[in-house]
Symmetry: C2
Subunit: 357 residues, 2 copies
């Protein structure tokens, strides 16, 4: 086991412990497939991939496409290490979100129709969009928390097209989208005009401050920042700057796929410390991302499972909800030219940064 | 609205904002019943109670037993304030936990039989136990995370009898309970002996350090601390001191009923800061408590709903899971004589402290 851990640590530059490695292996055992295990490993993609490779290098597993099969030697080793499979009990009815879509089935159907010809995810802005079920679950979550009905909603980055689902529900008073990608701005504008949804869009790079006329104007913000501490601080800071004040809420997703647990702790310290908000909810694996076209081109391909396009959506994130308190500070400084997309855990290197890294 | 907020603030000594008060009122509207609304108000019990009273004082609602009915004047006021009901979409299948009990139905049945004659909750130790479904959901959650199968489990305070459900599942390698209440220690010992479960018990007040022979010995701890910063630091600190090291996990519940959001933020800063752990999961309303016998004797009774024993379980808590990292420090100092049960948000004043407060 020590040797195996040493290999993972060296190859990934992380500090993975024995219990963490055992949890990854227990996920492989439970799912039997590399991609299907990923929502449960709770570790960066690269760490999971290297663990599969380390098992393979020692003859403990074989691969068959993306399947991971333990060999006889592997089975004996599992017994010695007392590693047993995870028992995955994710609720079938709600996909583990805890929130039923029953009251929103009409919305889901209509939303799917409207976004059929949506712009595809592109590498330049670190995009990747969630399933329609996820987007509508977001509306349901907002509605359960009272953060959308009669409320003013600010969406910072919207390749998931939450603005369309939110406006279609008829619940919000106002929906404003700030988005860097002109293709998405145009798509939202077209749908909004055709369906009379009244969505307002602003084409802006969030490294610039929020425009004065939308500061302190919203009850709720939603964003999905790139997973670096810099981006999180920037996006959530902008979101908070858009809120009216205490009791207003912010929503965003964080993955394990691109952030190890040290970074998660840094995020949590940042949110509750410098940013001064409280974390009220965290829903594990809430956000299910549709596999993006450029996936296999951008990841390593040194073991068989990584050369097989996944047959299911594997990229998930935990949905955070935060609330602003009386003493929460407001930041809206420019961060022009700042690198916000890439750090050591990044799964995908954006066009401009790939060479350097 | 300002007057109403002022009354709530003055009567409760809190800093409730307009959006927070609106969320409480939106919960009353959605549930139509004081007790049924409580899992959704996300505020201390006393703040919810005072909000109901403030609405009543202004003729905006009437009470019928524990029902809250908006008057004509109240309905007009709701329109003016743009307050709409929460849309509660909690999944029926999993009770909103996201985890199905399907694989554990046999365990649930057997657990219910074994704990039929459990000790009742007593005020002295701030007790109140969760439903059997909750206890077995804890086992399912542990198993989904790989924190119980083949693992050594430490339970700090166990009026919920998790030790019995865990041992009955046959999953853990070792289960140790540290518990202050001799009645519970005896009950667990009796069941364990009769059913040959091998649970180890230690009768100890956690203000004392953990015994040397169980330090750094466990993969997982579970605790349910009283809701003061002092108690949280003490209980979680003890739990971490019992863990083997990085990658090991801790579980505990926190409510809104007894902790406002400033205290939640303090908890989160404590966990990620001084205690040095990362929060990996938070499952809202995971823990459902059975109404305890002494409930109505210990709360205010100045409005009608508070004089009617609730017909459903209303007291919930959010289930936290944390993980220990490589740099997480270990504390095990004595805290003898320290007040850990009561602060301004406490719902129930324990025997020894009620007079002073």
């Amino acid at each position: 086991m020590e040797e195996l851990i040493a290999q993972i640590r060296e190859a990934t530059g992380t500090n993975v412990g024995i219990d963490e490695a055992k949890r990854i292996i227990a996920s492989f055992l439970a799912a039997g497939d590399f991609w299907a295990a990923l929502p449960y490993v709770d570790q960066p993609f690269n760490v999971a991939a290297e663990t599969a490779k380390a098992l393979f290098d020692r003859g403990l597993v074989e691969f068959k496409n993306s399947e991971i099969l333990f060999t006889e030697k592997g089975k004996k080793w599992l017994d010695e290490q007392r590693i047993q499979p995870l028992i995955i009990s994710t609720c079938n009815n709600c996909g583990g979100r805890g929130i039923s879509l029953q009251s929103f089935s009409g919305l889901l159907k209509r939303f799917k129709e409207l976004v059929k010809d949506r712009p595809e995810a592109i590498v330049e802005y670190d995009q990747g969009y969630v399933t329609p079920e996820t987007t509508v679950s977001r509306v349901a979550f907002l509605a359960q928390k009272g953060d959308i009905q009669g409320k003013d909603l600010l969406i910072l980055g919207d390749d998931d097209l939450l603005s369309i689902a939110a406006a279609l529900s008829g619940l919000p008073n106002r929906v404003v989208v700030v988005e860097i990608d002109e293709r998405i701005v145009n798509f939202i504008n077209n749908v909004s005009k055709r369906e009379n949804l009244g969505i307002e869009t602003i084409n802006l790079d969030l490294r610039n401050p929020l425009p004065e006329n939308i500061l302190r104007s919203f009850d709720t913000f939603w964003t999905d920042p790139p997973e670096t501490v810099e981006a999180l601080e920037l996006f959530i800071g902008r979101g908070i700057a858009g809120l009216k004040g205490p009791g207003c809420a912010g929503y965003f997703g964080i993955t394990y796929a691109e952030s190890d647990k040290f970074k998660w702790r840094d995020f949590q310290k940042l949110i509750t410390g410098k940013l001064g908000a409280v974390i009220t909810d965290m829903i594990t694996n809430f956000n299910e991302y549709v596999n993006w076209d450029y996936l296999l081109e951008t990841i390593r391909n040194d073991i068989e499972p990584l050369t097989v396009y996944p047959s299911l959506n594997w990229y998930r994130s935990t949905q955070f909800r935060i609330e602003v308190l009386k003493d929460t500070p407001v930041y809206n400084e420019p961060a022009t030219g700042k690198e916000i997309y890439v750090d050591k855990d990044a799964l995908v290197f954006t066009g401009m940064d790939r060479e350097e890294k």
